[in-house]
Amino acid sequence: MNTENAAHNLLNRTLSSGWFVKEKIKKTDNQTGSFFSVCYLVEKDGETCFLKAFDFSKFLTISDPNRKVVDVMNDMLTAYRYERDLSEHCKNKYVTKVAFVKVADEEMIPGYAISIVPYLIFDLADGDVRKKLDFSKKLDYAWRLKSLHDIAIGLKQLHAVEVTHQDLKPSNVLVYLSKESKIGDLGRSICRDIDGPYNKMVFSGDNTYAPPEIMYGYYEKDWKKRVFATDCYLLGSLVTFYFSGISMSALLRKNIPHNFSWEVWNGTYEELIPYLENGFSSALDEFEENIKEYKDRVELKKLVEYLCNPFPEKRGHPKTITSIGSNFNLERFISRLDYLKRKAEIAVNN
C-alpha cells in the first residue's frame, strides 16, 4: 500500500466531478498557511478554477503529545464541513462579494492508506490585493476605493446572514480580472447558525491583524458585539493598509510607547484608555501623512477613525452609535466609500 498522501497526488487526474487537475500550487495567495490543505489549478469546460484538497492523512504526522489523533482528525473534518456548509448557508442570499465554494466533493484515490480526498473548488482569482497595491507612484484612489467598497459590501452581506469574517486582511482580499474584489478564506469565520471550528474562540482570526482589545486580552463578553466590533476594526485596518501599506495594528503599535505595548502591559485595559487614545491620535496623523495630496483625506481619515477606534464601545459611525440597532452596521461606511469612489473616478476621467 502506498504510504504517500493521496491529496498530494491529484495532478493530471480527471476527478469524478469532471474537473481536470492541471497544476499543483506550492503556496497560494488566498489559502496561506492552511496546514491541512494541498492546492491545485483545475479546469473544466475551458474554465480554470482553484482546488483545495484536504489532506486527511496529515493527522498521522502530528507528533504533538498534547493532542490526540482523534482531536486532530475532528479538527480537519470540522474545517472541511464548515467551509462547505457555510457556502450552502450563503447560497441564494445575495452574498455576491465573497469568494464561495463552487464545488464541494470528494475523490477516491485507490492505493493509499487514506484514499478519500475531500476537496473544495473556488473561482480562480488574479491573486490577493497585495499584488495590486502599488505605492511607487501617485496612489490610484479610484481603484483602491472601488475595491474597498466591494469588500465593505461583502462584509455587510456576510453580516446580513449572521456570518462574521474575523480574518479580513490584505491576503484575504481576492482580485478578479483586475476589477472586482471579493472577500476570500472564510475558514476562520463564525456563523451563528453553523457549528464551526472557531465558534467558541474569543478571536479566531490572525493575531497580526487583531484589534487592540484582543491583543491586550480584554474583550466584550457579549459575543455578537465582540465579533462584529472585530470585523469593523478589520475593515478599517484594511483601509489603512490600502493607503499606507501597513495595518492599523502596526500603525498603532508604532505610535504607542513600548511601556504600553500589548507585549509588556500587565494592567487593565481601562488604565490604558488615555494612552491608547493618544497613540491612536498619532497613528491617524501618520495615516494622513500617507495621503496628504488627496483632497478628501480628512474624510478618509475620519472613516478609519470610526472603524478602528481602539475601544469597541466607541467603534462604528457616530450616527449609528447614537441610533437604535447595532453600532457596527456598515451601511454608512459603504455609502461614504461609494461617494469617495465616485468622486475619485470623476477626477480620473477628467
Binding site: 506550492k26 503556496k27 495567495d29 496561506t32 498557511g33 497585495r130 499584488k131 497595491l133 502599488d134 505605492f135 511607487s136 490584505p170 491576503s171 490572525d206 493575531n207 497580526t208 491583524y209 491583543m215 486580552g217 493598509f241 493607503f243 499606507s244 501599506g245 501597513i246 495595518s247 495594528s249 502596526a250 500603525l251 503599535r253 508604532k254 510607547p257 513600548h258 511601556n259 504600553f260 505595548s261 500589548w262 507585549e263 509588556v264 502591559w265 500587565n266 494592567g267 481601562e270 488604565e271 484608555i273 488615555p274 494612552y275 487614545e277 493618544n278 491612536f280 491620535s281 491617524l284 496623523d285 501618520e286 495615516f287 501623512e289 500617507n290
Partner: protein, 525 residues
C-alpha cells in the same frame, strides 16, 4: 536678605514631567507583575513565505506589520524586508519607509525616547526665560485637541505648559478637563495632585479638593502610585491616610513591582519618620530603595537631614533625572558647583517648581557669591511665579549684592498683596530693603531695617533666619567700615560653631574672613 531654602516640609508629592518623560521613566508602567491572560506567541512564518515568494514593497511591508505587531522586529527576514523597502524608497509610502527605518535602527527609537530625559547645562536656563517656545507648544497642543477632543493627555500637557508660564487659572482649567475625561488615569491624577499641591495656599482649598478626588477615586486603593499621592496629600494636610495599611499590604504582597511601590514605601517611611518611628521608617525606606526613582532618593536625602542613619549617596543608584537628590547631597558635602549644576537640571526638569529655583539662587548668591547666576535662575522663575514675593525678594537681594539698587528696588516694587505674605518672607523683604539702603549709601536707614529684621526673627523663634540676618547685617557694616562693626561681630561670634545649618556655618566663615581681611566697601554702581 535672601529667603532660605526650606528643608522642613518635603513630602513624596508626585513629580510632574511631560507625558513622554514620565513614560520613559517607567512611572506609567503597569504595576502588576503578572498578566491576567497569557498570550502565546504568533508565528509570522506565512508572511515571510509570502514575501519570499512574491517580493515587492507591499509584501515586505505586510511582513513588517506582522513583525511589529508580534514583537519580532529582530527576525532576519524582517530585517531583509526592511532593507528592501529602504532600497526602494521611491516605491514606498511614508509609513512603509518609516517602519522600515525603525526595524533597521531600533536603537534610534530608544535614543529618541532617552533624549527626552537629557537636560542641558546651566546656560540653558537663559533660554527658558523666553516664553515663545512654550507658546508654540501650546498652539500645537491646541491643534491636537481640535482633532482629538477627548485626548486627556494633551490637556494635561497644556496645563503643564500654562503652569510653567505661571497662568494658574488656565493650568487648573485644563487639568480639570483632563480629570473629567480620564478620572481614573494615573498620569492625569498624579499630574493633578502635583498641580493642586503646587498652587495650594492658605487662601484656597486646593489641597482639600485634590485630597477628596484621590480618596474617593475607586482606583486609588489598587494603584501604588496613587496610594502614594494620597498619602503625600494627607500628610501635608496633617491627616492620617486611611490607605496606609493598604499600602503596607501592597508592598509586602509580592504582586507589585518594586519600582511601582518605591514612592509608596518612601511615603509611608516619611509618615513613620514624622511620627518619630525612625526604625519603622528605615524599614520602609529600605523597601523603597529596592528599585528607587528620583523622588524616593530626594526624599531619603531630605530624611538624612533629620536622621543621619538615612544618609546615602544618590549617585550610587542608576536612577534617571536624579537631580534633586544629587543637588541636595552635593550641597551637604559642600560640593557647591556640582550642587548648582544639578539644581539647574532639577529646575529644567520641572520648570514650574519653585524649590529648585530657591535652592539654586540661594546657593549661587549666598554661598558661591555668583549674583549673575542667581539672577538668571530667579528671572527664569519669575515666568512661572510672577509676583512671587520669595522670588522677587531673592532677586532684589542678588541685584543689591551687585550694587544694582535700581533693579533691586524694581524687583521689590513688583511684590503685591503684602499683607498675605508669609511672616518669614516679610522679614526677609525688610532685611533686603536694609541691604539696598546700605548699598545706596543710606547706612542709618539700612541699619534700622536690619535691626528690625533681627528682632522679628527672634520673635518668631527662627534661629536660622536670625543668624542669617545677623551675618548679612555684619557684612554690610564691615563694608561700610562703620563704628558698629565690633558690636555686630560680637553677635556673630555668638553664633554656634556648628549651627546645624550649613548655610549659616559657611556664611559665618566668610564674614569672619572678610572682617579679618578688613575688606573695603566695593565700588557702588
Amino acid at each position: 536678605m535672601a529667603n532660605l531654602f526650606s528643608t522642613e516640609d518635603r513630602r513624596v508629592v508626585p513629580n510632574w514631567r511631560s507625558f513622554g518623560k514620565t513614560t520613559v521613566l517607567g512611572e506609567l508602567d503597569s504595576f502588576q507583575l503578572e498578566r491576567r491572560e497569557q498570550r502565546s506567541p504568533t508565528s509570522i512564518e506565512e508572511y515571510i513565505i509570502d514575501w519570499e515568494l512574491n517580493s515587492g514593497v507591499t509584501f515586505a511591508s505586510d511582513l513588517l506589520s506582522a513583525a511589529i505587531v508580534n514583537n519580532q522586529l529582530d527576525n532576519k527576514s524582517v530585517i531583509k524586508a526592511a532593507k528592501y523597502i529602504l532600497r526602494n524608497k521611491n516605491n514606498a509610502s511614508y509609513s512603509q519607509v518609516s517602519l522600515a527605518e525603525r526595524v533597521i535602527n531600533p536603537s534610534q527609537n530608544k535614543k529618541d525616547a532617552k533624549s527626552a530625559l537629557i537636560n542641558s547645562d546651566i546656560e540653558t536656563i537663559l533660554s527658558s526665560i523666553n516664553p515663545e517656545p512654550l507658546h508654540q507648544k501650546i498652539r500645537s497642543l491646541k491643534k491636537v485637541i481640535k482633532k482629538a477632543p477627548s485626548n486627556s493627555i494633551a490637556y494635561v500637557e497644556l496645563s503643564r505648559y500654562y503652569s510653567i508660564l505661571g497662568q494658574e487659572q488656565k493650568a487648573l482649567h485644563f487639568i480639570n478637563i483632563a480629570l473629567n475625561l480620564s478620572p481614573n488615569n494615573r498620569f492625569v491624577l498624579r499630574s493633578a495632585t502635583r498641580l493642586y499641591t503646587h498652587y495650594a495656599s492658605d487662601n484656597n482649598d486646593h489641597l482639600q479638593h485634590i485630597y477628596r478626588i484621590l480618596t474617593k477615586n475607586p482606583i486609588t486603593k489598587y494603584d501604588p502610585w496613587l496610594l502614594s499621592a494620597e498619602i503625600a496629600v494627607s500628610t501635608i494636610l496633617n491627616k492620617h491616610s486611611k490607605f496606609i495599611k493598604k499600602g503596607m499590604q501592597m508592598i509586602s504582597s509580592n504582586k507589585v513591582a518594586p519600582f511601582s511601590f518605591t514612592e509608596l514605601a518612601s511615603g509611608i517611611a516619611t509618615v513613620e519618620l514624622l511620627n518619630g518611628s525612625n526604625k519603622k521608617s528605615k524599614t520602609f525606606f529600605d523597601k523603597a530603595l529596592i528599585n528607587p526613582n528620583d523622588n524616593t532618593l530626594a526624599q531619603i536625602e531630605w530624611a538624612s537631614t533629620k536622621d543621619s542613619r538615612f544618609d546615602l549617596n544618590p549617585e550610587e543608584f542608576r536612577v534617571e533625572n536624579n537631580y534633586e537628590a544629587i543637588a541636595l547631597d552635593s550641597f551637604q558635602k559642600q560640593k557647591f558647583d556640582d550642587s548648582l549644576e544639578n539644581a539647574a537640571k532639577w529646575f529644567l526638569d520641572m520648570p514650574f517648581s519653585k524649590r529648585p529655583l530657591i535652592f539654586a539662587s540661594n546657593l549661587a548668591s549666598t554661598i558661591l557669591g555668583d549674583q549673575d547666576k542667581s539672577i538668571m535662575f530667579l528671572k527664569a522663575g519669575e515666568m512661572s511665579h510672577p509676583h512671587d514675593p520669595l522670588i522677587l525678594n531673592n532677586l532684589a537681594y542678588a541685584y543689591a549684592q551687585k550694587n544694582n539698587t535700581i533693579e533691586a528696588l524694581a524687583a521689590l516694587g513688583r511684590i503685591s498683596n503684602y499683607e498675605r505674605i508669609e511672616s518669614s518672607t516679610r522679614i526677609c523683604i525688610g532685611a533686603t530693603r536694609g541691604l539696598i539702603m546700605f548699598r545706596s549709601g543710606n547706612e542709618e536707614g539700612g541699619r534700622r531695617l536690619y535691626m528690625e529684621a533681627i528682632e522679628k526673627t527672634k520673635q518668631i523663634g527662627n534661629s536660622e533666619l536670625n543668624w542669617i540676618a545677623i551675618l548679612n547685617y555684619a557684612r554690610e557694616e564691615i563694608f561700610a567700615k562703620s563704628e558698629y562693626v565690633e558690636p555686630i561681630m560680637e553677635a556673630v561670634s555668638q553664633i554656634p560653631e556648628n549651627s546645624g545649618f550649613l548655610e549659616v556655618d559657611i556664611l559665618k566663615k566668610k564674614i569672619i574672613e572678610t572682617y579679618k581681611k578688613g575688606k573695603s566697601v566695593p565700588n557702588k554702581g
